[in-house]
């Protein structure tokens, strides 16, 4: 068959294909396919950015990479591979984070079109804002297993990436994790916290020791004295020091850490008798006296390449625990003075550590044990990925791009890929693009958002890291209090407001009804934050972001409580903690390793198309992504 695109594509379109400049963000699963498709469609001028390096688990689909490339820059290698095919193409590769200050609005303005092939929400949010600021059309894409989606974003014309709120991550009550786990996932979350406590960044929300304020345990007053006593003696006063300090002082001695975590802390939990009246009490483990558990006789273990699917015995868990502890310690030592490790599901010692610790804890609490393969899935929030889905989505991406370049952006669609043809026999479901949400706190005329929090306990640091950067997606915010005096709360200039960080919001006069003016110069984005003071939030959340103030008022009157009452507290006063996964690990790009890696997809970008709007050509089986 003939190959030429003459005739099939109109002359003017061919011209713009030959001359326009494109930006591809992400050189992972979709990115590799996309770069190949672009070069073979005749695009000559492509810039490519990705922060990630190549991992073995990429090779089953990211076909521009080979075994010998493992560890190298995805962007660089993808560029080389594509150039081999068309040496005349002008491809620029950046091994960098798209969220860096070098890639401002002027950078984005150089392109006719931006194509996202990303795997995380933070980078997607950021590119969304940059494209809105630069007024450049953006094609967004994602895959998860057999499912996929492509959509087009254009300022003023369509919904932006953040027009609809995204569901938040699943969370578990703190006491369940620390005191009374009942499912394997509880033990896995605990083990990841233990990893972070020992090797990672300190996060008080990830405490792994018994929670003495468990309301269930605190029931009988007589215990309280015993508890505080026990805390001193059994837990060795560890609660006072960080687990990290204690581990360092004990030289990361496996036996000591094992006996503290799996014997002493469990004994301590046993002393909280109320917890065990209705539950089967945990059984502490002793390093020198491990039970002989029969191994699960799963025969699939003999099949090649899948020995990770066998469940380990307790003795095996203990020896893997000791071994991986040592390896992680070595990694930590090698990382320099105040170095920390970031938990990575593809890092062998880190995964072994979590698998063994989670299973030891599961055994103690009579919870079924899990294989390393399963733990990896559950702990790593692994999104299955295959070549076929990426190929399909990248093909669709280019077709949408061609529509934009031929001036037919109004004909663009959001296209959902189903796992199999739906009852109406459609594998693809194209939907008309939605109009912008007039109340969107990103793309509306006057972006505004309301945040509920306790102004008498929250620090400026938490406000900046967790709310303004973490939840609201800014990267370099300047924050001013709208108090008529123009008090600067946070400055993007290094060191300028360092002194404010540890202070409480109320010290600056921030109270119920206060208004903060935020400005992110990189994203060219201004946002007003209305503060609603609450004493305590449902499920002990630290804060709550409410996009639509009208919605909030309706809700408040329904609750029959004013927004500033302190009766918002839920019956269930467990403290919730977010189960972290990749997307939250990258919310603070300045500190974390990954920012715009592009392995495949971001399940949490799931946009629930709950109410199917009239625009859709289909009324069922819409893939959510």
């Amino acid at each position: 068959m003939a190959a030429s695109i003459n005739g099939v594509l109109e002359q003017t379109l061919q011209k713009s294909i030959n001359s326009c400049k494109l930006l591809v963000v992400g050189a992972g699963g979709i990115g590799c396919e996309l770069i190949k498709n672009l070069v073979l469609t005749g695009f000559h001028d492509v810039e490519l950015i990705d922060l990630d390096t190549i991992d073995v688990s990429n090779l089953n689909r990211q076909f521009l990479f080979r075994k010998e490339h493992v560890g190298k820059s995805k962007a660089e290698v993808a560029k080389e591979s594509a150039l081999k095919f068309n040496p005349n193409a002008n491809i620029v590769a950046y091994h960098d984070s798209i969220m860096g200050p070098e890639y401002g609005v002027d950078f984005f303005k150089r392109f006719a079109l931006v194509m996202n092939a990303l795997d995380n929400r933070a980078a997607r949010n950021h590119v969304n804002r940059m494209c809105l600021a630069a007024d450049i059309p953006l094609i967004e894409s994602g895959t998860a297993g057999y499912l996929g989606q492509v959509t087009v974003i254009k300022k003023g014309l369509t919904e932006c990436y953040e027009c609809q709120p995204k569901p938040t991550q699943k969370s578990f009550p703190g006491c369940t994790i620390r005191n009374t786990p009942s499912e394997p996932i509880h033990c896995i979350v605990w083990a990841k916290h233990l990893f972070n406590q020992l090797f990672g960044e300190d996060d008080p929300d990830q405490d792994v020791s018994p929670d003495t304020e468990d309301p269930e345990a605190a029931g009988d007053a007589g215990e309280v004295a015993l508890q505080s006593e026990a805390k001193e003696s059994v837990a060795g006063g560890v609660a006072r020091k960080s687990t990290r300090m204690w581990a360092q002082q004990s030289g990361y001695e496996p036996e000591k850490i094992f006996n503290k975590m799996f014997r002493d802390d469990i004994r301590y939990l046993l002393s909280m008798e109320n917890l065990w009246k209705k539950r089967k009490a945990p059984l502490p483990l002793e390093w020198n006296n491990l039970p002989n558990t029969a191994q699960d006789g799963d025969h699939s273990a003999q099949l090649g390449g899948i020995r990770d699917q066998r469940v380990w015995s307790i003795c095996e868990c203990a020896s893997v625990f000791a071994e991986s502890l040592k390896l992680c310690k070595d990694q930590l030592m090698n990382s320099g003075d105040c170095g920390t490790l970031v938990w990575d599901k593809d890092d062998e010692p880190a995964l072994n550590f979590v698998t063994s610790a989670a299973n030891l804890r599961a055994h103690i609490f009579h919870i079924p044990l899990k294989s390393k393969f399963d733990v990896k899935s559950m702990a790593g929030n692994i999104i299955p990925a295959i070549a076929t889905t990426n190929a399909i989505i990248a093909g669709l991406l280019v077709m949408e791009g061609l529509k934009i370049l031929s001036g037919n952006i109004d004909k663009c669609k959001t296209v959902y890929l189903n796992r199999q043809p739906n009852p109406r026999k459609k594998l693809l479901v194209p939907c008309v693009l939605d109009k912008p949400n007039p109340k969107c706190y990103v793309c509306s005329e006057k972006p505004e958002v309301t945040v509920r929090l306790n102004t008498t306990t929250m620090t400026v640091h938490t406000l900046e890291e967790k709310i303004i950067k973490g939840s609201l997606g800014m990267v370099a915010p300047d924050v001013e209090i709208d108090d008529g005096k123009g008090t600067i709360l946070i400055s993007s200039e290094e060191g300028e407001t360092e002194g404010n960080m540890g202070k409480i919001l109320s010290e600056f006069g921030i109270r119920n009804g206060s208004r903060l003016k935020c400005d992110d110069f990189l994203q060219v984005y201004n946002l007003n934050i209305n503060i609603l003071h609450v004493e305590k939030l449902k499920e002990d959340k630290e804060f709550e972001v409410i996009g639509d103030i009208a919605e909030l008022q309706a809700q408040a009157s329904a609750d029959n409580t004013g927004p500033d009452t302190n009766s918002q507290e839920d019956d269930d006063d467990d403290d919730d903690l977010i189960m972290e996964d990749e997307p939250t690990e990258i919310t603070t790009p300045s500190r974390k390793r990954k920012a715009n890696g592009a392995s495949d997809a971001d399940l949490s970008t799931k946009k629930l198309k709950r109410s199917i709007d009239a625009n859709c050509q289909e009324d069922e089986d819409i893939v959510v992504l």
């Binding site: 030429s4 005739g7 689909r61 076909f63 089967k280 390449g305 020995r307 190929a391």
Partner: protein, 513 residues
Amino acid sequence: MESGPAEKSKKYDRQLRLWGDHGQAALESAKVCLVNATATGTEILKNIILPGIGSFTIVDAHKVSGEDIGNNFFLEKDTIGKSRAQVATELLLELNEDVNGDFIEETVDNLLRNNSGFFQNFHMVIVTDLPERTLVTLAAQLWESDTPLLVCRSYGLIGYMRMVLKEHTVVESHPDNAIEDLRLDHPFRTLTEYCNAQNMAEMTKKEHSHTPWLVIIYKFLEDWKKHNGEMPRNYKEKSKLKEMIREGILKNQDLVPEDEENFDEAIRNVNSTLVPTKSKPFWILARAVKEFVQNEGQGRLPVRGSIPDMTADSERYIQLQNIYKEQALQDIAIVTNYVHQLLQTLGRPQDNISDSDIKTFCKNASFLQLIRCRSLAQEYDPATANHADIAMHLEDTDDDDLVFYILLRAVDRFYSQYSKYPGCYGDSMEADIPKLKACVSKLLQDWGITQNVKDDYVHEFCRYGASELHSVAAYMGGVAAQEVIKVITHQFIPINNTYIYNAMKQSSITVQM
């Protein structure tokens, strides 16, 4: 150099989570054949080589042309004039060191003539860009030997795929919304005993609100049956049962109902749990399951053995889980017995069917699938063609993608007559339009269809000039490779039998031709 098991499981980690190690093993032992290393063909191969197909063979007598290198990633510029089969094989092999590949520089016609058993050696044959006459001959032979065939092409802005499976069985169909297998309509003994031992009247508030909904529905169903004899059948009766359950929610001193999530779950699950337990049978395993159904199962399939998540204390949740698990194991043991008996009668060793296969089969007993596609011969013979459906689609709306099926068949007819595709050479465009129109009319006439195809489509197809756009080829490469994997792993339900993609509208349809 092949990679070791540990590295393999790392490399394939993200896909093992979709089809499991047994699916991977099936893939790694499969041999496929690709006819013609077109862009569409090599894209399909790429997508099955990356996940680790066992081996591939490319059959292609063409030499690499200038047009080829413009749209095919696996043919480089300096290879013009060389064997297309060879060049593509070499480049494709670089994708995965665990895959074997070879090539034959030969036409399909010659192979069919001189080496008649050749194509039957493969688990699947994938065909691109083959003239109709040769395709029909090849398809007939593959149909005879029960070898799966996949035909795929990218033509301008249209993609086409045809699956030809004489008989294909699927054990793990991975249904999208499976109804749970809970047997509340026919509770087995241990389940009855367990539920009867639960005394909701004497429970504390916490116990009451953490009683699994399974138990709640069981209790209220028993109540219902006492009064009405039978299970609730229609909407009205089911609503009544839901009302009864709602009444069962604990009330506080002020007679306001408590917040009991498990009762809400019970009410939500009434409809799906009352779907009667049904069965669907097949082969040695199917026969064994049939024996089970007729005897021990008293007309019902083996219990699947899993329960969904529900609000419950872990103690009772685990107890219930075990009750279902135990029952499933018992049922599997009985089926295993039948399997062994059958194997013995057939004079085959007992390990002919593994325990894990029996287990998987029993667990999927209600999702088993048998797919029988129509043959290509049936489709291409005007007497047995599916003209009723074609007419219906033409009638349906003016923009139905099925029209592209007719045009693809018409360009093939054009090729048979003129040995080239319409509009292939710029200057012939005008002359080709009426010729292609005639082919379309002739086809419709053969099928006895009176409606016609709009001229716009004929013009557009002439404009395509049989060109293969890379993005369309890449898209079809993804879709087709996914179907190949489904067939080889016997997981998920393959498309039956024709798929058409319209890149202008980003729409697609599936039809049975």
